[in-house]
């Protein structure tokens, strides 16, 4: 059987495209390039952004609750006297009623984990070496849901009890200790304790590897003179971009100072936003260029196919169906271009993931294609194809069959 199986519009649209081989090939190339640029850029930027955010948040709580700052209150103002007011020095204090705030935080929607932390300055001493460190008293089961310490452990496990301590690899190097050795820790207030190193971590940040010393909450409380208290409460949220909202709610509910990572890293966030804006700008221009390309090719095709359009009209094709034929050509070009564009973007991602690498040789991004990005780019290409075909299609539909045949 040799009869064409396609419906009229598809049949004619496909034949017209096939007949204008060179034009079709060029415009397909254009759409492919456009879609590939959009998908590749979006994917690259999304991945780089999430890598950066992962790195920033890898050693940081999404939301942190701290005690209110201490301020001077004047009993009454006396117009006859002047006063010099010095800002108060902020001492290490506990969060008032912290158990209640932990409970409050846990009940907030969007909160995944809550971990009270006792933290303060101290010195780690061994022999004649003395290093300034940050003492962190944590409940490991809670804290590992704030910072993924388990994945950072180089030796030992992220568990503390009694006078055990977990220190970073840099500090261990500086003090010349390893698992099983002892380190003398003296808090700023003068209290001290001999700690046994039971684990080493590497967070991927030398500064933190040199400064963080984990102990039990109880030990940190006694060393820092905060009996029963905690200095801050760390919180992990489901959607990191909801962090400021959660922080605002908690601040209103607790009356404490509550900061989200978004405020502490506002510059980074602004940079990421600017990057997204420029990405959108590039995408818009690419879409416009692709649309103009499709449109101009189809306009030329309408002129070239004038006679055929006239013949089809004479044989009983309505002007609406002629319009359909040209809209379909736009859609087909958009659709096929989207498929090949997504394919090209995938290939580019494979190539660039081997080129872009971090200092330690790991790829900066995974060469994966996000289905959402690919589908939306394909959808845009299809819509742009149809819209771009609108003007040529209307022109074809309005063509006077008699004039068209005579042409």
């Amino acid at each position: 059987m040799a009869r064409p199986r396609l419906p009229f519009e598809f049949l004619v649209a496909l034949r017209f495209l096939r007949e204008g081989r060179m034009q079709t090939a060029l415009i397909l190339l254009g759409v492919t390039g456009g879609v590939a640029v959009i998908v590749f850029l979006s994917q690259l930027i999304a991945q780089l952004q999430s890598t950066i955010i992962d790195r920033v948040l890898g050693s940081q709580a999404h939301v942190v609750v701290r005690p209110l700052e201490e301020v001077n209150l004047r009993a009454r103002s006396d117009p006859a006297s002047t006063a010099v007011i010095e800002p108060r020095a902020q001492r290490l204090r506990s969060i008032d009623q912290w158990e209640a705030i932990v409970k409050l935080a846990e009940d907030q929607p969007g909160v995944v984990a809550v971990s009270p932390v006792v933290s303060g300055p101290a010195f780690a001493l061994r022999g004649r070496a003395s290093k300034s460190v940050a003492l962190l008293g944590v409940e490991p089961d809670r804290y590992r849901r704030i910072v993924k310490m388990d994945t950072y452990m180089v030796r030992g496990k992220f568990q503390v009890e009694g006078t055990n301590a977990i220190i970073g690899t840099e500090l261990a190097k500086d003090l010349g200790v390893t698992v099983g050795d002892k380190v003398f820790l003296r808090a700023a207030g003068g209290r001290d304790e001999l700690l046994q190193v039971t684990g080493l971590f590497d967070i991927g940040n030398k500064d933190l590897n040199r400064r963080w010393v984990f102990t039990t909450m109880k030990l940190a409380q006694s060393l820092l003179d905060l009996p029963g208290g905690v200095s801050n409460i760390d919180i992990t949220v489901t959607d990191i971009f909801d962090a400021s909202e959660v922080a605002a709610r908690l601040q209103a509910g607790s009356g404490m100072t509550v900061d989200s990572w978004m405020t502490t890293n506002s510059q980074l966030l602004a940079a990421l936003r600017n990057q997204s804006v420029s990405n959108n700008l590039i995408r818009s221009f690419v879409i416009i260029i692709v649309a103009l390309g499709i449109s101009s090719v189809l306009v030329v095709s309408v002129v070239q196919k004038q006679k055929e359009i006239g013949i089809l009209r004479a044989m009983g094709t309505s002007s609406n169906r002629i319009m359909g034929v040209f809209l379909l050509q736009g859609a087909l070009v958009g659709f096929v271009g989207a498929l090949s564009g997504v394919g090209l973007a995938w290939a580019l991602l494979q190539i660039f993931s081997t080129i872009y690498r971090t200092g330690d040789g790991a790829p900066i991004f995974e060469p994966q294609l996000d289905t959402g990005i690919a589908l939306s780019a394909a959808g845009i290409a299809l819509a742009v194809g149809v819209l771009a075909a609108l003007i040529p299609a209307r022109r074809a539909a309005k063509m006077d069959p008699v004039q068209a045949i005579r042409a």
Binding site: M1, A2, R3, P4, R5, L6, P7, F8, L11, R15, F16, R18, E19, K307, E308, G310, I311, L312, R313, A314, M315, G316, T317, S318, S319, N320, R321, D400, P401, V402, I405
Partner: protein, 240 residues
């Protein structure tokens, strides 16, 4: 409406006028009130000198252009006031065209060209449409050329395909605008004979615009246009 012989009319024209550039200073009337009928199954030549309005009249009858004034009925249906969609349907259902320059669709094979009116009418080609197309191409002697594109056929072959295409939906009226205009005498005779054959066999009325007095003489009737007016309507006593 019936003609003198009592057959119903496939085409009926009353006071048909056509002007171009209506409302502009260069308004020109090409047809000045044509009154004529074409009976079902009639084989009629439309003759006249160049510029007499033959092609315009054919375009009006073919519903490709609307008349400026007057009444035109196709297959008993008045076309006055019909919208483009309705005219398209009427044209597709009752009228087949054969143009001077064959006007095949170059992107399609001979077989597909013959099937095209059916594809347009039915949305997609059916097995029956294909059988009809095979049969028609066999009748015009092109069975072995079914899968050739239009450009691979000679002028005469292309015109045969065009005739087969015009017949694919068995229209009641075939309009042919100088179908033999650019063919040599021998081929022209063949094409003409083919039209005549289909006319006799299927009863499709034919209106053929021609400059060739030899061919015109072989029609049942001749309608002659001079300067946009009906000059004569002569019945030929002994059709060839």
């Amino acid at each position: 409406m019936t003609d003198a012989a009592g057959k119903p009319a496939i085409i009926s024209m009353r006071g048909l006028r056509k002007s171009y550039g209506v409302g502009t200073p260069v308004e020109t009337e090409v047809l000045h009130g044509i009154d004529a009928d074409l009976a079902e199954g009639e084989f009629c030549a439309l003759i006249g000198p160049s510029g007499s309005g033959k092609s315009t009249l054919l375009n009006l009858i073919g519903l490709l252009e609307p008349p400026t004034a007057g009444e035109l009925s196709v297959a008993g249906q008045s076309t006055t006031g019909l919208n483009e969609q309705a005219l398209t349907v009427l044209r597709g259902r009752h009228i087949g065209f054969v143009f001077q320059f064959h006007h095949l669709l170059p992107a399609f094979t001979a077989l597909e060209n013959v099937m095209m009116p059916a594809i347009i009418a039915h949305g997609v080609a059916t097995a029956e449409d294909e059988a009809v197309a095979h049969d028609l191409l066999a009748r015009v002697g092109l069975s072995s050329h079914e899968y050739k594109k239009a450009g691979q056929l000679s002028g005469g072959q292309q015109q045969r395909v065009a005739i087969a295409r015009a017949l694919s939906l068995s229209p009641r009226l075939i309009l042919a605008d100088e179908p033999t205009g650019n063919l040599d005498t021998h081929t022209a005779d063949d094409i003409f004979a083919l039209l005549r054959e289909f006319n006799r066999e299927r009863g499709s009325a034919c209106l053929i615009v021609t400059h060739d007095p030899r061919l015109a003489a072989r029609c049942d009737r001749r309608i002659e246009l001079v300067d946009g007016r009906l000059a004569a309507s002569t019945s030929v006593a002994e059709p060839a």
